[in-house]
Symmetry: D2
Subunit: 118 residues, 4 copies
């Protein structure tokens, strides 16, 4: 996890440009691809209840597929950030701060009701 | 983009634990949340064609909303990685390498047909 | 449930054309809208486990929201079928027959393993 | 399109019960499946712009895949309606009426701005 998002982006853009694939990467198509990959992640849990999903965390094959599907989603987020010129890491930091103000510790602590309004 | 995923995860877990919210974060619920947030990202482009979406990249308000929705997706990916104990940055690097082998430059270059099999 | 899909489609098209909204309904936008509405359906269950979701079936407010979100998805499916000129009801009947051949009763009965390959 | 939703539901439930699959169909799993199938529908248009998608409507193979993916989504909606005991057709009729009141013809006509607030 010591990888920076800038390093990942550099490798991803080198991969993309070596194949001349930027022409297919309209912002709308990249955004759609995030949803498509998210659904592949969802499919990993399709017919299992919460406990069954938790129970698979220690299975190396499940963990590897989970990591790969999450990676697919992240790579499209990085392509979107590069295309629209924003700093994804800074946006994530800012969002944590926004949520921290929105859900003050004293009110939100262990509070599912508050939480569902997230 | 100099932020590391480890630093982001540390802040996010501190936020979560201060509110005692881990109890709501089953792996299945976190995975579902990635799809829900991805659809909010998709909604930003709902009634616009590709050109109209590109045209909004320079509008500060659109860019801010785009960054915020991408951040929401990323934060859930980080919570999944923490819950299932894998390194999201390493998984993303590995996925770029897998794709590099799957789509050799000489065959994939500018090739939409090959590309659609991605 | 005695409503036919043709009757629903007629009402929906009358609604659309009275507002001159067909111009916004490219096939791609309609397809995206199915995913967006599906995620709103998913959001109804976001922080609840399977048992909690089942437990809400008898709550009138939950049932009403569930029905409304499912209706939103169905309406977009009907707009897609009208746009691309296929019979959604016939396609659904045909898909049940395809699945019946794919999952013969004697092999599939109570078989989760077979089922997950659906 | 003369098929009623009640007839489709009867066939679908007969299919399900012959295989004893109701045990896998928690409401939450059925709802997740709608999102998964919607993403397969989305995938049909993944690297194409609006015009390219429209251009495929007359290709029999594309139309057949489109119809099949829409059918998959509809079948899960019917399973949800059966599980939660609501009338999907009536819910769709009611939603058209709600939208008709929400978007009066005189204000909404040809109005993209109004429309995007749908």
């Amino acid at each position: 996890m010591s990888t920076t998002l800038a390093e990942l982006t550099d490798r991803l853009i080198a991969f993309r440009d070596a194949r001349d694939w930027q022409q297919f990467h309209s912002l709308k198509n990249l955004i759609m691809s995030v949803s498509i990959e998210s659904a592949e992640l969802l499919e990993l849990t399709q017919w299992q209840d919460d406990a069954a999903v938790e129970g698979q965390i220690d299975e190396p094959e499940f963990r590897a597929r989970l990591a790969e599907e999450c990676a697919d989603v992240l790579l499209y987020l990085l392509l979107i950030a590069e295309r629209a010129r924003f700093d994804l890491g800074a946006a994530a930091e800012e969002k944590i701060e926004i949520n921290a103000r929105k859900y003050p510790v004293e009110e939100a602590r262990g509070n599912a009701r508050k939480y569902t309004e997230l």
